[in-house]
């Protein structure tokens, strides 16, 4: 006899867990199935060398405090090894810049007033987007009052900024990060760091139109009241995901790992359950997919259940990743030249100028990897020594940019690329190479193979104006519901986007409760 549930969630990534936990708390019988043997997807902690553990998504910075509280994650074991982590913009010449108003003022007097004013203003502008980011997007072209009210609210939020700020928001929202940086700021290290954050994970370099938007979204979500800021959970990101899984189980959800969904069952244009690759099937009137849209619609559901124009939109959604991830097992703390050891408690950005970041993005356009990559580096063992044997350390670097479809082939090029990345780090931290005991490089192709996200995209799909809000991931699936009744999305390709935020999962649960169960 097949087991019946109210809701089956495909994928125990953080969004799937959040969604499952919320639905279970509302009394639904929830089953969360995960292909991998552990929960969390990229936000898990894995052993990449004996005794050395790392998290592919290595920082938490977007999850609202309200969600952490609502799910009782701290009662379920979430602890922070660090929060409110600082950012240092690394300079190849050793004049690193700690991104605080004080040190910016000291290093670049022209930015002394401009930088805090810029942050204040941008936080204010981003604030106008916050209600939009925390709600299910309205549908366009309907007669429903709820949709109209949502649009009116958005308009009102923007209008409420006042004339000057509204004009500025409308000026910059479709603009490129490069121009925004040069409009307001002068120090190249500051500009580069900002451009890095604006473009992180996407396919578009800072000179591409629309790159301000992802940065505003990030700012809006970080700026939410009581946000933990850049944070590192104890035990790595697995600490967060395990707490989420415990919260879900405590609420009554079943979490099964090591079971891969083969396809979604449909009868009479309604979802009826899932079939596992083992042949086993589970029935439920609601299936929520934490997988990316291409996997969900084309592989798991099948295009025969969808219309051509919808499938075309899914197929054309930009989802080729350009991010690689490097984990190094080090037998001592890396010594970055001219950098105080305390900076290693925060994150380091290698994005010394706008041009540097822009050039890094040129490579994947031509099927290459950048020889001068931009990086976000953490040494998580500084805050949490449990991640490595005593005295040893882990270096974790998000690296941009490397083509998903590398012309020369990843099998042929991975060793050369890894050597190049270690060379780069050696240049910043002399002696690092000799301390490397083991290394793990995850190219976009590896990320795809490991996490099942088609294209290996860091955020499942580019965050840009044409893939944002009521068209994220595509029109027709932007309200978490899909053309097939009972099938919902909750992954990073949904609104509001990627990053370990959990909002996607929360809003998907809201959409499920409103519509289906």
């Amino acid at each position: 006899m097949q087991a019946h549930y109210d809701c089956i969630i495909i994928g125990a990534g953080h969004n799937g867990l959040v969604c499952g936990a919320i639905l279970a708390r509302r009394g639904k019988r929830v089953l969360i199935v995960e292909a991998s043997t552990s929960v969390g997807g990229p936000a898990a902690t894995h052993e990449f060398a004996p005794g050395f553990r790392a998290s592919t998504a290595h920082l938490m910075h977007l999850m609202p405090r309200s969600l952490i509280t609502a799910l009782g994650l701290e009662q379920h074991g979430l602890q922070f090894a660090a929060n409110g982590m600082a950012t240092t913009s690394l300079s190849p010449s050793g004049n690193h810049l700690l991104l605080t108003p004080e040190s910016v003022a000291a290093a670049s007097p022209v930015d002394a007033e401009a930088y805090p004013a810029f942050l204040t203003r941008m936080t204010r502008l981003a604030g106008a987007l916050r209600p939009m980011l925390a709600s299910v997007p309205p549908r366009l072209g309907t007669d429903a009052w709820s949709d109209r009210i949502a649009l009116l609210k958005l308009g009102w939020q923007i209008r409420r900024l006042g004339r000057k700020d509204m004009r500025e928001l409308l000026r910059i929202i479709g603009m490129n990060a490069y121009d925004l940086c040069t409009d307001y700021l002068k120090a190249p290290l500051l500009q580069g760091a900002l451009a890095f954050d604006a473009t992180l994970g996407g396919n578009l370099g800072p000179r591409a139109p629309g790159t301000v938007l992802p940065w505003l979204v990030r700012l809006a979500m970080q700026g939410a009241d009581g946000n933990v800021g850049l944070a590192q959970p104890v035990g790595g990101m697995g600490g967060l995901s395990d707490a989420l899984a415990r919260a879900a189980k405590a609420a009554g959800a079943e979490v099964r790992t090591g079971v891969r969904v083969d396809r979604v069952l449909v009868a009479d244009d309604r979802v009826t359950g899932v079939v596992l690759s083992s042949g086993e099937s589970y029935l439920a009137p609601v299936v929520v997919s934490n997988a990316d849209p291409k996997t969900t619609f084309i592989d798991l559901l099948g295009p025969e259940h969808l219309d051509t124009e919808f499938v075309r939109r899914v197929d054309r959604a930009r989802s080729k990743g350009v991010v690689a991830k490097l984990h190094l097992a080090l037998d001592r703390l890396p010594a970055f030249a001219n950098l105080p050891e305390s900076a290693l408690r925060g994150r380091l950005l290698l994005a010394p100028s706008l041009t540097y970041v822009e050039r890094a993005f040129d490579a994947p356009k031509y099927g290459e990897y950048s020889a001068a990559p931009a990086m976000e580096i953490t040494v998580p063992t500084v805050n949490d020594p449990s991640l490595a044997p005593a005295g040893s350390h882990v270096l974790s670097a998000v690296v941009e940019c490397a083509a998903y479809d590398l012309r020369a082939g990843w099998t042929e090029q991975r060793d050369a690329y890894q050597a190049l990345l270690i060379d780069q780090l050696e240049g910043l931290a002399p002696g690092l190479r000799s301390s490397v005991r083991a290394a793990e490089l995850l190219t976009p192709v590896d990320l795809e193979a490991r996490y099942g996200n088609r294209g290996g995209h860091w955020h499942h799909a580019d965050l840009a104006l044409d893939q944002f809000y009521f068209v994220r991931p595509v029109a027709g699936a932007a309200q978490y519901s899909t053309p097939v009744a009972g099938l919902f999305l909750c992954g990073a390709a949904t609104h509001p986007g990627g990053g370990v935020a959990g909002e996607n999962g929360r809003l998907a649960a809201q959409a499920v409760l409103a519509k289906a169960v």
Partner: protein, 402 residues
């Protein structure tokens, strides 16, 4: 045979010539050609009336090479086609043909055409519009290959009461056993010719398919075979007349492909065109199904119907009204003719609700040009069953041997 357009630059000679072009030009008395799907084709050889009567009384031959042909192959071909078109393709057996339509996501018709199943995993889709992009997009996620083969196949429609006899004279023995919508393979003096009992005339008739390099050879043999039965090539005008009698729809006249409409509301759903019988809601999902289910629930607000119009003046492009005063418009005529065979003044028309049912009366505003003097007539028109002409011989197997 060398292609007549070889060595001619595209902008000087934008229309292609079919493999039958030289033969057709030689027989064309009016030098009346029209462009069709990028080819130059004959509109009238001698007179539309003469050609019309060839189809209804003897045999008319129509060059349908320009019809767009797609070859669809692969393990997923059936799954792909069942998702593409509105009918249940799983019921289509090898060597059989169905007429079908296909829709966009909104349930609006992109095109209609015939679907041939030529092998276990091989199909041909013959249609009016080029739509390779749509087929490729529809193929995302299906194990299927789509290829346009329009130029690789030459085709003739051989239609009329003596068409079977004529093809037998051509050497295609056994063709008399082909049932309607069946496909057979034959040899004509060593040339492979495929025949299907299909057509656009509503009469007994066949379409024969051959390699382009053998086109003139087959044409010559065919004309010789049918000489004693007054076989005659026909142009588009005569074809248009016989297809109206048969109640068949002509793209760009009776509907416009949803891909090429610009104005809102100008596209049509199969339910609006009275093609409900082509839409299989029970077969599972197909493209546009959700929109069509919703439309069926709402009910259509306009519908394509057949009209029998008083008098004998064709109601070309006539507007339709509720009454003779002509104050309240209720639709318009899409195709019209005086039917010599039915002796009726017939038309296809889009009418608004509630004038759908047989027997409903509307009034047609007909304009007549009599040596430059325009006359306007309000004439009563009655909604009638389609087709207007459906002789028993179109289905009879074997057909009469004459």
């Amino acid at each position: 045979m060398s292609n007549p357009t070889d060595g001619v630059t595209h902008f000087n000679q934008p229309l292609l010539k079919t493999p039958f072009h030289n033969r057709a030009r030689a027989l064309s008395q009016n030098d009346s050609f029209v462009a069709w799907a990028g080819y130059t084709t004959v509109d009238v050889f001698t007179s539309p009336e003469q050609e019309y009567f060839a189809v209804r009384n003897t045999t008319g031959v129509y060059d349908l090479t320009p019809m767009i042909k797609y070859r669809i192959t692969g393990k997923g071909a059936l799954r792909f086609l069942n998702h593409l078109v509105t009918r249940d393709v799983s019921k289509l057996k090898v060597n059989r043909v169905i007429y079908t339509v296909w829709c966009n996501d909104d349930g609006h018709i992109l095109d209609d055409g015939t679907l041939f199943r030529l092998g276990e995993d091989e199909y041909w889709l013959c249609c009016a519009e080029r739509q390779y992009d749509w087929l490729l997009d529809s193929a995302i996620g299906f194990d299927v290959a789509v290829e346009e083969v329009t130029e690789q196949v030459a085709a003739l429609a051989v239609q009329g009461p003596t068409s079977c006899w004529t093809l037998k004279q051509l050497g295609m023995s056994g063709i008399e056993n082909l049932k309607p919508f069946e496909v057979g393979r034959f040899q004509v003096e060593g040339v492979d010719v495929m025949a299907s009992r299909t057509g656009f005339t509503g009469d007994l008739g066949y379409e024969i398919w051959m390699p382009p390099e053998k086109a003139e050879f087959i044409w010559d043999r065919l004309m010789e075979a049918g000489r004693t039965r007054l076989i005659r090539p026909i142009g588009s005008q005569a074809l248009n007349a016989v297809r109206i009698e048969a109640g068949f729809l002509m793209p760009h006249f009776d509907f416009v492909s949803a891909e090429s409409t610009i104005r809102l509301g100008r596209d049509r759903s199969p339910l609006e065109l009275g093609l409900d019988w082509l839409v299989d809601f029970k077969k599972g999902h197909f493209n546009g199904r959700r929109a069509l289910v919703a439309e069926q629930k709402r009910g259509v607000t306009r519908k394509l119907v057949g009209l029998d119009i008083d008098g004998n003046k064709p109601a070309h492009s006539a507007l339709l009204y509720t009454d003779k005063s002509g104050q309240t418009e209720v639709g318009f005529v899409t195709s019209a003719m005086w039917s010599p065979t039915c002796k009726r003044n017939i038309a296809l028309a889009m009418v608004n609700a509630p004038f759908f049912s047989v027997g409903s009366e509307v009034w047609a505003e007909i304009y007549l040009n009599r040596e430059l003097l325009w006359e306007r007539r309000m004439v009563k028109a009655t909604v009638v069953e389609k087709p207007f002409f459906a002789p028993e011989r179109r289905r009879l197997t074997p057909p009469a041997d004459r």
